[in-house]
Symmetry: C2
Subunit: 271 residues, 2 copies
């Protein structure tokens, strides 16, 4: 079976480094015998704003419009197969995929709004999480388990500013909401991000080394070891979702608590 | 002089807890003698997507459309006073303000896309940062220095899951891209966030305690001690923007490196 990969790209300029990286991923993976789909969010004119139109049945039962509860209404629409067609189409691409790649420029230390709105609208309760799906933070049983996830990010700043002692914070910490909060939460298997630094006004003749480095990461999409996040179901957390005492290496604090101090014992590696 | 506060609110349902908190902030601050403006992003049908239309002069010089460089083009448009009117109007509200309050539900461990897109489009180079404005991470000289900043967030999860050992990560770490990356970077003075937990399908009769707690935070908007982030210009960082050795308490790692281990020596406190 050919491995299937969904590339999601978010940059307004078709001649940008981001567009070049997205096109390169599609071409390179296809040439390697993968099946690839591309969601080019700007080209699709993706609507980023969660609203009642996302759930066509919302409020149709009564006279006055029913109060919108985003989680409840998105879940009901998902389970009834009654989501807006643009959302349903993107969910189908994720279901189809064995891996998801996000290509975006870091804007204000997170994804551009058009990509955030793809996440907000597509990762509904009932699809990516929720009471009717398996518990979060488990890559063997989670709602979207069995899928690898790779962030490919361009950054205007230099790498030192995102290094261990860099003022912007470590890249892994800045990307935590996506890596752990989105991918790992939903059962996907996040890899270390691929990052190109110092990209402000980068001329096209500097693209080649970035593409070459990216090729190596794409080749290892299904073999690179994932980020060794702890599973919720692995016995490390209490009923209030707090890490039990003594599970970490002494002195560990903050987000580092939620990775295994040694290579991950869970099964994501071998996929 | 009356203190001036801009409240930015991002929820699609006018009967939601978020809408109630935003309205409460406007009313409570006004009753206390403050001047208040509200940017209700859903009511304004705010466009979250950065695009060439944001910079009306883009590409007008030549025949074929010029390649879009978001940072360069946003900066040129900002300095020339030629930004799209919806962006210019929001910048004017920020310039007018002594404090900014963001009201939003945590969606996927960050702001809803409509708010992210307000940030992406409004905080342009030349306005909030850039070569023609003072260096970042300095609340005495930064581009938007002199403004306090408060996040007011609702979360479906329980507080324990965002506690020191909670699986979602500490709230302060999850909000780092906004607190440090947006507010502190641009010279604003961020306070500890105000958070209401366990809000999934919260009935309106449970709003009262949340509003009461919020009132105390709003009353202290100009007196609460800010988050003691380190300034870039205070001598703690090298030329590559890395924290110099020995500045932190022993064993400190990750995002905690970038707060002073003792009360902040900088001047933001007294505003």
């Amino acid at each position: 079976m050919k491995k299937k990969i969904l590339v999601v790209s978010a940059h307004p300029e078709p001649r940008s480094l981001n567009a070049a990286l997205a096109k390169f991923a599609v071409d390179h993976l296809s040439a390697a015998g993968r099946e690839v789909q591309l969601s080019d969010l700007y080209a699709m004119k993706w609507n980023p704003t969660v609203d009642t139109d996302d759930y066509p049945d919302h409020g149709s039962a009564g006279g006055a419009a029913r109060r919108l509860h985003v989680m409840r209404d998105s879940e009901e629409a998902t389970l009834a197969g009654r989501l807006a067609p643009d959302i349903a189409a993107e969910q189908e691409k994720i279901r189809w995929s064995d891996a998801v790649v996000f290509q975006f420029p870091m804007w204000w230390f997170s994804a551009p709004a058009i990509l955030k709105g793809w996440i907000d609208r597509v990762f509904t309760s009932g699809f990516a999480y929720g009471p009717k799906v398996p518990p979060p933070y488990d890559d063997t049983a989670g709602a979207l388990a069995g899928r690898r996830a790779l962030l490919s990010v361009t950054l205007g700043a230099r790498e030192t500013a995102f290094s261990d002692r860099g003022i912007h914070g470590r890249l892994t910490d800045v990307l935590h909401p996506l890596q752990h909060g989105l991918f790992w939460f939903t059962g996907m298997t996040p890899l270390e991000p691929f990052a190109v630094y110092d990209t402000d006004r980068m001329p096209a003749d500097r693209y080649a080394p970035a593409l070459e480095a990216y090729a190596r990461r794409l080749d290892a999409l299904f073999t690179d070891p994932p980020v060794p996040y702890r599973t919720l179901t692995g016995g490390d957390y209490d009923h209030d979702m707090r890490l039990l005492p003594g599970r970490e290496r002494e002195g560990t604090t903050g987000l580092d608590l939620h990775t295994y101090p040694d290579p991950a014992p869970h099964s994501g590696v071998s996929r």
